[in-house]
């Protein structure tokens, strides 16, 4: 997913950023289905939407749901205008899958907060304006889910250091962020102190269920189909294309079913986990199969763009089942939903 502040700005001018947010804050007051239709179009053509993506998908709705009116009036218009980009501050070097063990600490000081700690794997942190940080506002890491709170952190504040991390594909799309005695205003807190865990889970339901959890490899797949059309290999791979169509169609229907629950105001954690786990399996299966297919006959020339794209997607595909909760975490959540834990 490419990053282009200019592209996000153009979308915002059309009113296509933050469409689910209330119109008095610059949104369009549309339901989750409208957003589904919009983001599906954007993902299907591989539009460079990552600048506003997190704010549009989860930070904006989070602030709208749990924030104060002052926070809504300050942040939401900026989000809808693509002037404020957000990143996620959940993972830490020692709190990955075990998110409840976060050690970043926000201490009260004279009506404000002092933030210390660090976050990692924050997508686009080095290009974003704000991070919503999950931090411990009371108690000890052994208190687990208790005592966590969420804070909106302006990444330009003194004491914030952002260090991009280079990945295996030659990109630097995520970063490590350090907080050294960062002084936050009292209204940096979103929602209630101590409700961070519940809020993060509501946020993750948005993150896990959307169409982007089934379309990560779609541009590659569409391009392979384009290359196959009219070629002698079309007949050989038709059944594989059919299987992808069958799975995509079913996953899309499942994703719509979860969207329907979100639209009704529910927080379908288990359903979202289920769709994400099986969705990423589909997304990862695409580069895996195409690699094998285009190297099936070494004497048949391979389209240069296809070769490059499949290599890139294969390299980055492991992240699909890491971000937003690993496969093991999601299966554990499903098991809990089944009453096994």
């Amino acid at each position: 997913m490419g990053f282009s502040a200019a592209f996000s700005k153009k979308l915002a001018e059309r009113g296509w950023v933050g469409v689910t947010l209330p119109s008095q804050y610059g949104g369009a007051n549309l339901d989750a289905f409208s957003r589904f239709a919009l983001v599906e179009e954007l993902l299907a053509v591989g539009a460079p939407v990552s600048a506003h993506w997190i704010a549009d998908r989860q930070s904006g709705p989070l602030i709208n749901k749990f924030g104060t009116d002052t926070q809504r009036r300050f942040y939401l218009p900026k989000i809808c205008a693509a002037e404020a980009f957000f990143c996620i501050g959940m993972s830490e070097p020692n709190a990955g899958s075990d998110l409840a063990s976060v050690g970043t600490r926000a201490a009260r000081c004279d009506g404000a907060w002092r933030l210390n700690g660090r976050k990692i794997w924050a997508t686009n942190a080095h290009r974003c304006h704000y991070m919503i940080v999950l931090a411990r506002s009371s108690g000890e890491p052994t208190d687990r889910q208790k005592g966590l709170s969420q804070f909106i952190v302006d990444l330009s504040l003194p004491g914030v250091t952002v260090r991009p991390i280079h990945d295996l594909a030659g990109d630097a799309h995520f970063s490590e962020v350090f907080f050294d005695d960062v002084l936050l205003a009292g209204d940096a807190l979103v929602g209630n102190a101590g409700s961070g865990w519940e809020q993060v889970n509501a946020e993750l339901a948005y993150e896990r269920s959307g169409p982007e959890r089934i379309y990560s490899s779609i541009v590659l797949l569409e391009y392979w189909i384009k290359c196959l059309r009219g070629s002698p290999e079309a007949a050989i791979h038709a059944a594989n294309i059919g299987r992808f169509a069958t799975h995509l169609s079913t996953l899309r229907n499942m994703s719509i079913a979860v969207t329907a629950k979100l639209a009704k105001g529910e927080s379908p954690l288990v359903e979202a986990a289920l769709v994400k786990d099986i969705g990423t399996e589909f997304e990862q299966g695409i580069p895996s199969l195409i690699e094998a297919a285009i190297a099936m006959y070494p004497d048949v020339p391979v389209d240069a763009d296809l070769y490059r794209t499949v290599a890139y997607v294969s390299q980055i595909a492991p992240s699909y089942s890491l971000r937003g909760g690993t496969r093991e975490i999601l299966r554990g959540m499903i098991a809990r939903g089944l009453g096994l834990r």
Partner: protein, 330 residues
Amino acid sequence: MFAEAIEDILENQCTPAEVRAIEAGGSPAALWQTLADTGFLELLASEADGGAALSLPELFPILSSFGRYAVPVPLAQTIVARALLGSKQAIPAAMITFAATLHREADGAIACPLTPFGKVADFVLARDADDALLLPAVSAQRQSTGVSRSLTATLTWPNERGATRVPSGGTALTAFAAALHAALLSGAMTRVFEMTLQHCNNRHQFGKSLGKFQAVQHQLSVMAEHTASASIAAEAAFRTVDTVPALRSAAIAKSRTSEAAQLVASIAHALHGAIGITEEYDLQLLTRRLHEWRMAHGSEAHWNLRIGQDVLFGDMSLVEFVRSVSPYER
């Protein structure tokens, strides 16, 4: 509400003992009579014809429950066949099944290989190019498959005499046969999943229930994912205001449920252990059907090929294609 009332009847009438008896060669006449007397056969018929005039979305959970109870008679097929044949064809309350294919020999003989319920059905409705052909099984030679307890058989007729031609009934038959098997598969898979979950809660090893082991939990989660996918795919084929499922939706439904069937059956047996492959335990009534229904009227390999050809020889992008078959777009 309809579906719940029907489940109650199946619970009482279509017991595992009854299924076993019919599979062992017992007469299905009494069970069939009960189901016919209850009005099952007219679920799709118009109210003017004394039917329930159900829509396809209303029919789906009912067909699915036939899979759940491993109904050992061609009830789903007969309900659909009677709707396809219409009130013009005055047919008695006979058992009608669908043939997956129809072959014509050089001497005019007709063969319907591996026909589901071929051993017990009174009539076979087979696709013959654009038409459908209603063939009386009484004049056919029935050849068993040799598969233990299977009701599938190959039927052959010396000629077409005695058959009734249903003009332009061919496409509807193909789409309905695929869609109804998808519904049966999804119902059976849901039951298999429930049985496996229950077994993992009840059975203790190493001092705790199987469901407490993380490796087992993850297998159950995968099973839940595929069972849910199968149900969504099957239901989508019936989510239409038309009287016949769209062929592409039926194709996707049959492919997705068939692919899941193998996996769900395999995890169910792995988690049940040896008890699962015994005759006396009910799991086998369902998992044998999962495999049989996966192959009936085209496996996932068949339908994937057809769908893939539609995509590759068409001019839509894959996303456009998927949207064009989505029941949520209309």
